[in-house]
Homo-oligomer: 204 residues x 2
């Protein structure tokens, strides 16, 4: 890669990082202005356009990076689960760890999931869909669930996990532990309940 392309990539990175760094509990992506991001990245406002068409494009890039984090998390969870132990517990712990070390990645995913931009919502939904279908496939295979039941169960699990994640973002470590324990309990409820419903279908 030439010197020029290298420098350009660096500046682009600076913009993305600047945007991520400005996110917080009090500051959502949609409240960031192009000028603020450019300021934080130490470039002139108008130079922003050399890298992104507008703030929307920047945001979608960030959501994509969030998807990457999500997939890395899945891989990590699967690896740990292979070693044995409660799949639910392992998954929750992994989730909380990744959440803890990438808070702002989750902030944009969790916030824009129900945000005001259709494009954003679609992008986040697409990333989360990986999760859901992987989970649904998993329970179909290992627990012999009906596709419909598997889907409903997977969506419920993901809803509960992401919702807990949103709450956990603004919590201290101690409260987070309580939350994680409750989440494990809720996920077990869904798993047990899905099993019961499955049996009901079978015995008829």
């Amino acid at each position: 890669m030439g010197i020029r392309a290298q420098q350009k990539e660096k500046t682009r990175r600076a913009l993305v990082d600047a945007a991520f760094n400005q996110l917080s509990a009090e500051r959502s992506f949609s409240s960031l202005s192009l000028r603020e991001v450019a300021r934080e990245a130490n470039i002139a406002p108008t130079s922003f356009y050399r890298h992104f068409k507008d703030m929307n494009e920047l945001g979608l890039t960030m959501v994509d990076e969030g998807g990457l984090t999500l997939r890395q998390m899945m891989r990590k969870g699967r690896q740990r689960a292979e070693a044995g132990g409660s799949v639910i517990r392992i998954s929750v712990d992994t989730f909380m760890e990744v959440l803890d070390s990438n808070p702002n990645v989750f902030r944009i995913l969790l916030h824009e999931r129900s945000g005001t931009s259709a494009a954003f919502r679609a992008a986040v939904a697409r990333e989360i869909e990986h999760f859901i279908s992987e989970l649904a496939h998993y329970t179909e295979a290992t627990a012999g669930r009906t596709p419909m039941l598997a889907r409903a169960q997977a969506e419920a699990l993901v809803t509960l996990v992401f919702n807990a994640g949103a709450s956990a973002l603004d919590m201290k470590r101690a409260d987070r532990k309580v939350l994680a324990d409750q989440l494990v309990m809720q996920l077990r409820m869904v798993a047990k309940g899905a099993e019961a419903l499955q049996h009901k279908v079978e015995h008829r």
Copy 2:
């Protein structure tokens, strides 16, 4: 009430209504400007201050009205449930009906629940807490749940319901029906699962 107070109340109402009317899938409360709201309500921007200290105060008023809607919904659900039938089914149907006729009330609740203003988040959480504790109390009483289990179950139910509500907001009637059916299934999972966990605790 004097003529003056009456007129003032009318204008205040116009402001609140103007704000509610500007909400949509593409427009969140936090993206509304004071001037836009004043314009829609047909008053001068500066007259806004005769009624609210700032946009924040308007927003909190709207959340309060959302709480009112929620409580009316609970009452309606309880009444219908008394007549017999599946409590879960009745609750979901009631929820969907109320959602359908007050979309913007739910928009502000669902959006600001995970918004960027701590005051808003707290206000919404307070309103939803009614729901959760009422539900927890209900399952403790009728199904003899452990307080801890009852709480976890109630939070799971509410999470699933509100999450489905957020999705339902932008759906056509047909898709909404599918969603409602899946939601019922998920709620049954949680209920069945909580029961199973309860028995596990008891048999030891």
